[in-house]
């Protein structure tokens, strides 16, 4: 994983609540054996009509959304299936972070392992962001802060280990493997074997 330190971008706002991973990437696009190229299917059924044409009223299709890297989503983002294809698709599309009031557990875990940043904010900050699409934000991983239009800065929660891995581009598998003697000891000394 590449190190991620700071994300500066305008926001694109998608106010829909409870966006599940089936909406982020519909199941029929999971028949892949690679992580690449999933961006083209991101939000497919929200983004395109049944003939495959872009829907003009879908937020990511607006011309202003073009180079935005930060998605502001409605309450409770990423619930549902554990598919890691969801953060893979978001990243492949060019998005780097999502801001919401609540972000589902498995999605958050998967996202952090791939360098996609889940930012949970309070209701008031969220409302401000929803009301101001296209506003400039800065997400500072080291400080765990979200600055909005250079003034309002709020802290967001991020697990310190995930932060460390993000800042240093550390692969978590390497970290577990460093503990292999502890794992061996555990296997030998446990009172029962699976």
């Amino acid at each position: 994983m590449q190190a991620v330190k700071i994300i500066r971008s305008r926001t694109v706002v998608m106010p829909t609540t409870d966006i599940d991973t089936d909406q982020i990437i519909p199941a029929r696009f999971l028949t892949t054996t690679s992580r690449e190229g999933l961006g083209q299917h991101l939000f497919n059924d929200l983004r395109r009509d049944s003939d495959g044409r872009d829907k003009p009223d879908f937020e990511l299709n607006s011309p202003e959304a073009g180079d935005c890297q930060v998605l502001v989503a409605g309450n409770n983002f990423g619930c549902g299936s554990s598919r890691e294809h969801a953060p893979w698709a978001l990243l492949d599309y060019g998005l780097k972070a999502v801001i919401s009031t609540e972000i589902a557990d498995i999605f958050r875990n998967n996202a952090l392992k791939n360098g996609f940043i889940p930012v949970v904010v309070d209701q008031k900050t969220h409302e401000h962001l929803l009301a101001n699409p296209g506003i400039d934000v800065t997400i500072d991983i080291e400080q765990s802060t979200l600055s909005i239009a250079d003034d309002l800065a709020v802290q967001f929660p991020i697990d310190s280990f995930s932060r460390f891995c993000l800042l240093n581009g550390i692969d978590q598998l390497g970290y577990i493997r460093q503990q292999s003697s502890a794992i061996e000891k555990f296997e030998e000394s446990r009172p029962w074997k699976p």
Partner: protein, 469 residues
């Protein structure tokens, strides 16, 4: 160390290889890793890229269920896999298992089936184990008092390589269920009622323990249905303390301990309960006797009503309006006025033998309505066979339903089984998200009995009148 522990804490503590600290999550040992063709190819690639061996092939249970066809065939050699991607996943799963020395319950295996159905059925799912799978409904296995949760593909790679996972300890939520479920009201209605009450994020960050006499009275199939949908309330996992019902179910299963090992295991399992006086971070009380058959009306499992209750009206909420308009459902009216195109009986929520029996009881001697397509997809090849031995296949076929091979099928619509654009399905699966059962499909989640009644009526229907005679 705390002297009074919850069931979750007991299982957790037994599997900590390296404890968590402020800076690092715990390293947790995994006893059983279940894998399928959709969420593993990229994980095997990771092993290959890094030149790593698979640490414990003996702790992996592998099958194929998501992308696999369920069309009835005389021989698996004739199977035609729908879509190049799906065919590629299936071939790669076979190749990966062979390369890394994993026994695969693949095509032609009498033990093949949905990941969360075959783990318990084979007796591999046991009390006190940690169980993971690249699939969120891994929570199903919690019905046995195992700590079981879904993981992403990167984590699948971690477990393949190290048999361990990095985890922060979740919080605990007790759901206390008192009272008796009414006639025609089952485990599915109970869990839909729970999600309706606590919401689709009511369990986020928590592991649920289902407790109380209503839970103790449930059989294993029903307990699995309840735990299965824990994830739909946002919870990491759902647990039920093991008891005699659990042990009776497991005894004699091929991968359960045998002989003297059984006695030793049993002693250990009998310690797996929440100690008197142990505390939970949150708790919720539910009265099972108040529940009716439940159905969803919107586009997530928390949008749920009693079968004859009016759909609520929150028209000031744009997401709520959007859900109703997608579903073509009107607030203020009960769901029983909605006409049905497809009925799906299957999925890891409701495809076990007792689910098929419940639906067959409603369908026995009746026909499904004209214009309704009903698919019955058993959760495993073993369930299929057991149902055929009981003659259930005939009940379904005579009623006008399709009797299929085992798999996920229309629950996720990856194998070509889809509902069709704009069509409405009453489904015993677990997710009614937009497009979950195929692009534009509208899904109403329900119990097997409600699904069967709806197939007969051609509208969403209350099963209770069908059970009276």
């Amino acid at each position: 160390m705390k002297s009074k522990k919850t069931l979750f804490e007991k299982v957790w503590d037994e599997h900590v290889v390296v404890p968590e600290s402020a800076d690092t999550p715990a390293i947790l040992y995994i006893d059983l890793h279940i894998i399928h063709e959709v969420t593993t190819p990229q994980a095997f690639s990771l092993l290959r890229e890094q030149g790593l061996p698979l640490r414990r092939p003996d702790l992996v249970l592998a099958t194929m269920d998501h992308s696999t066809p369920t069309t009835p065939v005389a021989s698996f050699k004739d199977l035609e896999i729908v879509g190049d991607g799906a065919a590629m996943q299936v071939r790669q799963m076979e190749a990966n298992c062979q390369e890394f020395g994993i026994e695969l319950l693949g095509f032609g295996s009498a033990e093949r089936g949905i990941v969360h159905v075959i783990g318990p059925e084979l007796g591999a799912t046991q009390p006190g184990k940690t169980i993971v799978c690249g699939d969120s409904h891994t929570s199903t296995h919690g019905a046995f008092g195992a700590l079981a949760f879904g993981i992403g593909t990167t984590e699948v790679g971690h477990v393949l390589a190290t048999q361990c996972l990095l985890q922060r300890k979740p919080k605990t939520l007790a759901i206390n269920v008192k009272g008796r479920l009414g006639h025609g009201v089952g485990a599915k209605d109970l869990v839909l009622g729970i999600i309706g009450k606590i919401g689709v994020n009511g369990g986020t960050g928590h592991v649920i323990e289902y407790r109380g006499d209503a839970i103790e009275n449930l059989g294993m199939d029903a307990r699995m249905t309840v735990c299965n949908m824990s994830i739909e309330a946002g919870a990491r996992a759902g647990l039920i303390a093991p008891d005699d019902t659990t042990y009776e179910y497991l005894k004699g299963r091929p991968r359960a301990p045998q002989g003297k090992d059984w006695d030793i295991a049993l002693k250990r399992w009998q310690q797996l309960y929440t100690d008197e006086g142990a505390s939970f971070d949150k708790s919720v009380d539910i009265d099972a006797s108040k529940l009716k058959p439940m159905v969803t009306f919107g586009t997530h499992p928390g949008m749920v009503v009693g079968i004859d209750d009016p759909v609520p009206d929150h028209s000031s909420d744009p997401s709520f309006r959007k859900a109703l308009s997608y579903m073509q459902v009107e607030a203020g009216k009960p769901m029983t006025q909605t006409s049905v195109d497809v009925v799906f009986l299957g999925s890891c929520t409701n495809s076990r033998l007792s689910d098929l029996q419940e639906a067959a009881r409603v369908l026995q001697g009746r026909r499904i309505a004209d214009g309704v397509r009903m698919l019955v997809v058993p959760g495993s090849q073993q369930i299929k066979k057991a149902a055929e031995d009981l003659g259930l296949d005939k009940v379904f076929i005579e009623a006008g339903a399709e009797w299929r091979e085992a798999g996920c099928s229309m629950c996720i619509g990856m194998n070509g089984d889809t509902v069709g654009r704009g069509k409405l399905s009453v489904s015993t699966s677990n997710r009614n998200f937009e497009g979950r059962q195929g692009m534009g499909a509208r899904t109403v989640l329900a119990s097997p009995m409600t699904a069967a009644a709806s197939a007969i009526r051609g509208t969403v229907a209350d099963p209770r009148p069908f059970l009276e005679s």
